[in-house]
């Protein structure tokens, strides 16, 4: 047995509030992985750190704002997207990202999500989808797969989940992709692409939630769900959008890839005169 080289600092410590490490997320939680991808993409973007702003909502994913060492706003449940809209429209030079979860974005924040996509506001939304409301202990949410267990669906979830890619595509988003926390390189690439791409970008990243979702669904450790992703994911970006629903029952594929990449004009407020 050989110990790895023991050190005190990580190369990305400049991007995170290292004085607050270790963070609050459970062992095996995927949110930290997605946050790391986001931090890496920020560095690779070449956009001044000063101009990057992250806005989050409420939930475990919402805590990302508190750990990122950039201007960050941890707002009310579901209202991250309109807050970010205000930031971006008041100062178009900012590179505004929203980092939030499936519950915050698609349930209470659902209305804002679809309208921002409709308007094609120039922001990047990173959705860490762990299939439940993790922070409050693992209740079912709008993306909980049919039949999956949770603390409020002990007999199996009786609802069909949102197919977020389909939803956002229909709403008018310029860029929609879906990956998982095992597709780390693709997530970094897509976040980077989204920063530079005008219009509304939405990147769904499936992530393990071992203590919330996992414990109720035989995925007790983060690695279990990561291996499930590896086994079930199929990279097929030309899959028809209505077939992209997620079903975690045996032998059902999970489709990943860049599904929508279009060039509709980003939202512009009407301007008849120079700014005063």
């Amino acid at each position: 047995m050989v110990k790895p080289l023991l050190v005190e600092e990580h190369p990305l410590d400049g991007m995170i509030r290292a004085d607050r490490m270790p963070h609050i997320w459970c062992p095996g939680c995927g949110i930290g992985i997605v946050m790391r991808c986001y931090a890496q993409a920020i560095i690779k973007s070449g956009i001044e750190l000063e101009k990057h702003v992250v806005v989050s909502g409420i939930g475990c994913s919402g805590r990302v704002a508190g750990y990122m060492n950039i201007d960050s706003y941890h707002t009310t449940h579901g209202r991250g997207i309109p807050f970010a809209t205000g930031l971006k429209l008041a100062n178009p030079d900012l590179c505004v990202s929203i980092f939030s979860g499936d519950g915050d974005l698609a349930a209470i924040g659902g209305n804002h999500l679809i309208h921002a996509a409709r308007r094609n506001i120039d922001i990047t939304v990173i959705c860490a989808n762990n299939f439940n409301y993790g922070m409050t202990g693992g209740q079912m949410g709008p993306t909980t797969p049919y039949g999956a267990k949770s603390t409020t669906s002990i007999y199996g979830c009786p609802e069909h989940p949102f197919n977020l890619v389909y939803l956002l595509a229909a709403a008018g988003a310029n860029f929609v992709s879906r990956w998982t926390t095992i597709h780390v390189r693709q997530v970094i690439d897509d976040v980077l692409y989204a920063f530079k791409k005008p219009g509304f970008s939405f990147i769904e990243v499936l992530a393990p939630c071992p203590i919330g979702f996992g414990k109720s669904n035989d995925l007790e450790k983060g690695i279990d769900e990561m291996l499930l992703y590896r086994e079930r994911c199929v990279h097929k970006p030309d899959t028809p959008l209505d077939q992209l629903g997620i079903d975690l029952r045996e032998d059902q594929p999970i489709y990943v890839g860049r599904f929508i990449d279009r060039e509709a004009p980003a939202y512009q407020p009407i301007l008849m005169e120079e700014k005063t």
Binding site: M1, K3, H10, H23, C26, P27, G32, I33, R36, K221
Partner: protein, 89 residues
């Protein structure tokens, strides 16, 4: 199933990178993602724990030189606890 493949004749011309694993002990939460997902099986679970009681990764005795700096552990660690740096030859 053993796969038979030819060895490329110019294999010797390629410089396979080598990496060195670095660990911030107190950040590790023992999730084992790095250990299980390392394509070179460089890591194993340590019998020892950090202050919080988590078993952190250590390098397998016979795999010390197998790290190729693919950086997958770096990218997949949720805790900003492990990373590799290329070893200059």
């Amino acid at each position: 199933m053993k796969v038979f493949a030819r060895t490329p004749v110019n294999l010797g011309e390629f410089n396979i990178p080598r990496g060195r694993v670095h660990l911030i002990l107190e950040r590790c939460k023992g999730c084992n993602l790095c250990i299980e997902l390392c394509p070179q099986q460089v890591l194993q679970v340590s019998d020892m724990t950090n202050e919080k009681g988590y078993h952190y990764p250590e390098i397998r005795l016979d795999r010390e030189d197998s790290c190729v700096n693919c950086e997958f552990c770096t990218m997949v660690c949720p805790e900003f606890a492990i990373y590799t740096l290329e070893v200059e030859e």
